[in-house]
């Protein structure tokens, strides 16, 4: 038995998981309907696809949610996992699931996939026969991804950085990388049997004042790490920044450099897609205005030429949305996509040049790290603060980068910490910032900048 196989068997042997029949699962993937594969849908339908978020504790409520999504012809369904499962706390998840099943209240903010198990979940997945995307935020997603793939969920979101730095306080970095290496391998493995499993990075990160250079670097890195393990279909992503032009610039640079780096490292035989997140930051406590905000996001997604848009709802500020509100957001998003015709192709040479130079500089610094493998180089770069995500709760994240919005609401780097932003780029960034004054003025500005949509 190969090492990988032994590892897999160890992983799935978990007191909260059911028994895994790998042979049966492989057979299932081989014969699975192509309509379950988002990689296939991307190939067939050359339009902006819409996908909501959403997960409820019980099977019944999850099924009802999907029925609601089906009514509005949702392109891709989500399976959002609750936060205990995300932190591998299956015991608490189990307890809360039981409470949710007994009472009418939801005691979990997502679907506890491990506790439900793949056999049950697969019934639901194949019933709807629509591609499903696994949304979690889990540093150690090995068992979760095994369970998802076995269920027929053929898109896996996340990555060792994007699901760690925004989602964890002290999960060890090296473990996260190794565990995600496992995930990539499993995805690559199943990709042999039918259409490729799609991996997607979570470019929204903390959704709070993250400058495009950081987002793009992390997208490129996670893409390359996935390709290294044999993944063939990957989605890079980012979330609305708050400045339309910055979104356009980010999209253009991200599209260009993702293809370029993939090819340069020998991964020419891969598919790369672009995913845009509707506004991921703080929402207004007003449902009507929230609806307008997500409409605006849809417009921008189309403007930047994304392949998929991930929707929010007008209830975002208040809590997990009802299934009706969630489906309504998809309906509105799909409607706007349908009527939005003849968008101009836009670019901004100066901004793109600056951003590209920043990304190349940080990528170079990462590649120049003396470690032997890419993941170790990246790990070291995080420790050194070369990669530094604003508002990350993780203790290893440097937290030295400070960003503020310029008068046009573009996110600009005010303090660059250890991130190797080239001199002329940093000068450009600083030249855009209008705020004057000391620490206090900057803090006040940042608080205001977090709440721009409120």
């Amino acid at each position: 038995m190969s090492l990988f196989k032994r590892e897999r068997e160890a992983i799935v042997r978990n007191e909260y998981a059911e028994e895994f029949d790998f042979a049966e699962i492989e057979e299932f993937v081989k014969k699975a309907d192509k309509r379950l594969f988002i990689s296939y849908k991307f190939k067939k339908e050359k339009r902006l696809l819409a996908q909501p978020r959403g997960g409820f504790p019980t099977y019944e409520k999850m099924f009802e949610l999907y029925k609601e999504f089906q009514k509005v012809d949702t392109d891709i369904f989500p399976l959002t996992i609750d936060s205990h499962t995300r932190l591998n706390d299956y015991a608490t998840a189990k307890k809360m699931l039981e409470l949710s099943e007994e009472n009418e209240v939801d005691m979990l903010n997502g679907y506890p996939l491990i506790n439900h198990g793949y056999k049950t979940t697969r019934v639901m997945v194949t019933h709807f026969n629509t591609p499903i995307s696994l949304r979690h935020g889990t540093p150690d997603a090995r068992l979760l991804v095994e369970t998802a793939l076995a269920s027929g969920i053929f898109e896996i979101e996340g990555g060792p950085i994007t699901y760690l730095l925004p989602y964890s306080k002290n999960f060890p970095l090296d473990k996260a990388f190794l565990y995600w290496k496992y995930v990539e391998k499993v995805c690559a493995h199943y990709s042999q049997f039918n259409e490729p499993i799609n991996r997607e990075s979570f470019g929204a990160l903390t959704a709070t004042m993250v400058p495009p250079v950081i987002t793009i670097v992390i997208q490129l890195i996670e893409m390359l790490l996935a390709f290294e393990e044999g993944v063939k279909s990957f989605s890079v992503s980012f979330a609305q920044h708050g400045s339309v032009n910055q979104d356009i610039v980010t999209s253009n640079v991200l599209k260009k450099l993702s293809r370029e780096y993939a090819d340069k490292l020998g991964f020419e035989d891969t598919e790369i897609h672009l995913v845009y997140h509707q506004w991921m930051g703080a929402f207004p406590y007003d449902k009507e205005l929230s609806a307008t905000l997500i409409d605006m996001s849809t417009f921008i997604a189309a403007l930047v030429g994304a392949n998929k848009i991930i929707t929010k709802t007008k209830e975002e500020a208040f809590g997990i949305p009802t299934k009706e509100a969630n489906a309504q957001a998809v309906a509105n998003t799909k409607y706007m996509i349908r009527i939005l015709k003849n968008l101009p192709k836009i670019n901004d040479e100066e901004e793109e040049e600056i951003l590209e130079e920043e990304v190349r500089s940080v990528m170079e610094a990462i590649f120049n790290d003396p470690a032997d493998t890419l993941w170790r180089k990246v790990l070291n770069s995080i420790k050194k603060g070369i990669i530094d995500v604003p508002f990350s709760p993780h203790i290893i994240n440097a937290n030295e980068v400070i960003t503020v919005r310029d008068p046009q609401n573009a996110i600009r780097i005010y303090e660059k910490g250890k991130v190797p932003i080239p001199k002329r780029c940093f000068e450009y960034e600083k030249s855009k910032i209008a705020v004057k004054g000391g620490r206090k003025a900057i803090v006040d500005k940042i608080i205001k900048d977090i709440g721009i949509m409120q």
Binding site: L87, M107, N109, P166, T206, G319, F391, P393
Partner: protein, 135 residues
């Protein structure tokens, strides 16, 4: 005045937590910020260790209830008469009403409960509450 603060449970929403720290310091509190993903027991330990006047818990992801129900047990076990227990943020999964949420958390032993209330609005009320308590 000493405040222990942090985000309870498996909740990693850090933004409000950072702002709370800033605002509390600006208001002259001595702040012990345990950050996100902190369990009730850790909070209790920190309150005892720092001899804090206020325990100010945040929760954003809606799961506070499961993590905070046992506060009354700790209050039976230790003498927390001088400590003010505060919780705020988004205190239920899905859309919930303050009139359902507040009595529930009060019954667990919280003195002040802020459901979907702006930070500084809440902290103003806290300061007023502390002033009244002292006098």
């Amino acid at each position: 005045m000493k405040v222990v603060t942090g985000v309870v449970g498996n909740d990693i929403h850090v933004v409000a937590n950072r702002l709370i720290e800033i605002s509390l310091k600006e208001r002259g509190f001595e702040v012990f910020n345990l950050g996100v993903n902190t369990y009730l027991e850790e909070f209790i330990d920190a309150v005892i260790e720092t001899d804090a006047d206020v325990l100010l818990i945040s929760s954003l992801n809606g799961e506070a209830e499961g993590w905070c129900r046992d506060l009354f047990l700790y209050k039976q076990r230790f003498n927390f008469d001088k400590v003010t227990f505060v919780i705020g943020g988004n205190l239920g999964v899905g859309e919930t009403k303050a009139e359902d949420i507040i009595p529930k958390y009060k019954s667990y032993g919280f003195d002040l409960v802020f459901h979907q209330i702006d930070l500084n609005e809440g902290l103003d009320i806290l300061e007023k509450y502390l002033k009244e308590k002292r006098s």
